[in-house]
């Protein structure tokens, strides 16, 4: 028996095959099929197939997150179609427009477990690796095919090991680690690969921070990402009500295509500048760049701890004149906790505009920019034209850098405004 990576083990479990090698294509049976607002496309495809019987309705999870609440009669009809389908078919895991971003909602609800294979109609489905699951993005018709047949083709990926060691300097966060890594490896540095994170810093991270790691792994092309489950993971799963799972770990002597080591202690806050995520510089290189809008949101960085960090920086300050600060909590439970702890009031007193949970401006739902404007965002993408005008710019960074930038009205190091 040769030593195996996490990806080899997870796809062997999901396919029932043994001794899988990178490059092999298998039929895999996912444990969960996530579809977001575009679930209506999956339903329409199913209607065209003329199939009534589904493989396992309990493996379907639908979350109305990308456009919430509906903006037009068309999106309202799409939501309506999904609601009616869920009721008719008995889809238990249906989350409506009030719930928040699919990835976060599913993990909060104990629907993501170690060792599972989870497919989603969203490229950032790599995030499920934060709980030791194999999560990967697929197309709409692929979800429909899985509803009917229970399976989907999967290529066994090569694996890359990323060791993040040491502690981070003040004002520097997991988002900065990932941006530096994406900048160094490039947007295609891990294409089709499984990225396994390890090292002392990774082990010390919260589950929320691990989500940021695994989410952003997609931006270097990863097929999936993984952090080995430990007591931190188990505590999160217990609180989320996840039961009956088996932790799956890579063999210690598994073979990796490459191993990359990151020294956290030498990092500074990082910024991805227009118009690609791998165009990354230290914050000092762009400090002083004027922005018109700051967006704290997305599945990368709008969880409870992200809002808490932003509130800590913003407390006692005001957002600069002429700057719009939009805060979109990742989920309803994040928002409720932030409201109970006074974080929401701190943000509002500083001049922030709180929106309902969901994908918000990251998915083009509000927060559009006019010609010549710039946004500093905690999201995961900055491609040209993603947030409104084709003649606008998006900068990406951590919630702390975003909050400091909102106060200054131009890109700023969090330490500049702290305390």
């Amino acid at each position: 028996m040769t030593a195996k990576t996490f990806a080899q083990k997870a796809l062997e479990r999901a396919s029932g095959e043994t001794d899988l090698q990178p490059g092999q294509i298998v039929d895999a049976f996912p444990d969960l099929y996530m579809s977001h607002t575009a679930s209506w496309r999956c339903i329409r495809t199913l209607e065209k197939m003329g199939v009534e019987e589904l493989y396992d309705v309990d493996r379907i999870a639908m979350v109305m997150d990308h456009i919430s609440p509906a903006q037009t009669a068309k999106t309202a009809a799409d939501h309506q179609l999904c609601r009616e389908f869920a009721a008719k078919m008995g889809v238990k895991h249906f989350f409506d427009v009030n719930a928040g971003i699919a990835h976060i909602v599913l993990m909060e609800n104990g629907l993501v477990k170690p060792g599972q294979l989870i497919i989603g109609t969203d490229s950032h489905s790599t995030i499920y690796g934060a709980l030791g699951a194999f999560g990967t993005g697929v197309g709409f018709s692929e979800i429909t095919a899985a509803w009917v047949t229970g399976k989907l083709w999967m290529k066994v990926p090569q694996s890359i090991r990323v060791q993040v060691e040491g502690g981070l300097p003040a004002g520097t966060y997991p988002k900065d680690v990932m941006l530096r890594l994406i900048g160094d490896l490039g947007a295609d540095g891990a294409t089709y690969c499984s990225v396994e994170f390890g090292g002392s810093f990774t082990e010390a991270m919260s589950v929320s921070e691990r989500m940021t790691f695994c989410n952003l792994a997609m931006e270097m092309g990863a097929k999936n990402a993984f952090v080995a489950p430990d007591q931190t993971t188990v505590d999160y799963l217990d609180a989320a009500g996840a039961r009956d799972y088996e932790v799956m770990l890579p063999d210690p002597d598994a073979e990796y295509q490459r191993t990359v080591t990151v020294d956290g202690s030498s990092l500074t806050p990082q910024v991805a500048v227009p118009h690609t995520v791998d165009n990354v510089v230290g914050v000092d290189e762009v400090a002083g760049t004027k922005v018109n809008q700051v967006f704290i949101g997305s599945c990368a960085n709008a969880k409870y701890d992200d809002l808490a960090i932003a509130a800590k920086v913003l407390a006692g300050h005001r957002v600069a004149d002429g700057v719009r600060l939009i805060v979109t909590p990742a989920s309803a439970s994040v928002m409720a906790k932030a409201a109970a702890d006074g974080i929401v009031s701190t943000l509002i007193e500083a001049g922030a505009m709180l929106t309902n949970p969901g994908c918000g401006a990251c998915a083009g739902n509000g927060g559009a920019m006019a010609d010549g404007e710039a946004t500093f965002s905690t999201a995961n993408r900055n491609f040209q034209g993603r947030m409104g005008s084709y003649d606008s710019k998006i900068y990406l960074g951590s919630p702390a850098t975003a909050a400091a930038t909102a106060i200054r009205g131009s890109i700023a190091h969090p330490a500049e405004v702290d305390g």
Binding site: I25, T45, K48, M49, G50, K74, T121, D122, S123, G137, V138, G139, F140, S141, E142, T144, A145, V148, T149, K151, W153, A187, D188, T191, Y192, G221, K223, T276, G364, R381, F383, Q384, G385, R386, Y390
Partner: protein, 165 residues
């Protein structure tokens, strides 16, 4: 599965957001297809002809996994798409909708706009008929070829229920 057609050459790291800009995502395909890749080459959507071949550089189709990007490319009538490397979800989406795709590292060095190319998706063979240059990529997996033959995943699932039993 062999294609011969005129080459349209594009660069590296083209995101799906540039294949179909967000302002067109919710338009009907008849409108979207008029704007595919327009800001990278305005002549492309206007002059592309059925059977032409799109050749792109590294990490073609990065960013969002929106299948609309591959569908729009398919709607131009091109025979197939070849790239140095593909983004993972874009590559999946090509097969899902039945658009033949070949990953062939170094292909952009061997072509210019307007060259006549011959591409065999099944064997991975590639030839530039203007220059005589040849390249060979990996042969396609039989399952992926079946999917292309059927016209995509859903058509395959509908036609071959035995494969999905």
């Amino acid at each position: 599965m062999r294609f011969t057609g005129r080459c349209w050459k594009f660069g590296d790291n083209i995101p799906t957001d540039r294949l179909v800009k967000s302002q067109y995502v919710f338009e009907p395909m008849s409108e979207i297809v008029k704007h595919v890749l327009e800001d990278l080459n305005p002549a492309f959507p206007a002059e592309v002809r059925p059977g032409d071949i799109v050749v792109a550089g590294r990490h073609f189709g990065q960013s969002s996994g929106r299948a609309i990007a591959t569908k729009a490319l398919q709607a131009t009538g091109i025979g197939c798409v070849v790239a140095d490397t593909f983004a993972r979800t874009f590559y999946r989406n090509c097969f899902e909708i039945g658009l033949p795709a070949l990953a062939l590292d170094g292909v952009t060095d061997a072509v210019s706009d307007g060259d006549v190319l011959t591409v065999d998706i099944a064997t991975g063979d590639f030839r530039n008929e203007n220059t005589g240059a040849t390249r060979t990529g990996a042969a396609a997996d039989p399952f992926l070829l079946q999917m292309l033959d059927a016209g995509g995943l859903i058509k395959l699932a509908a036609a071959r229920s035995d494969l999905f039993a």
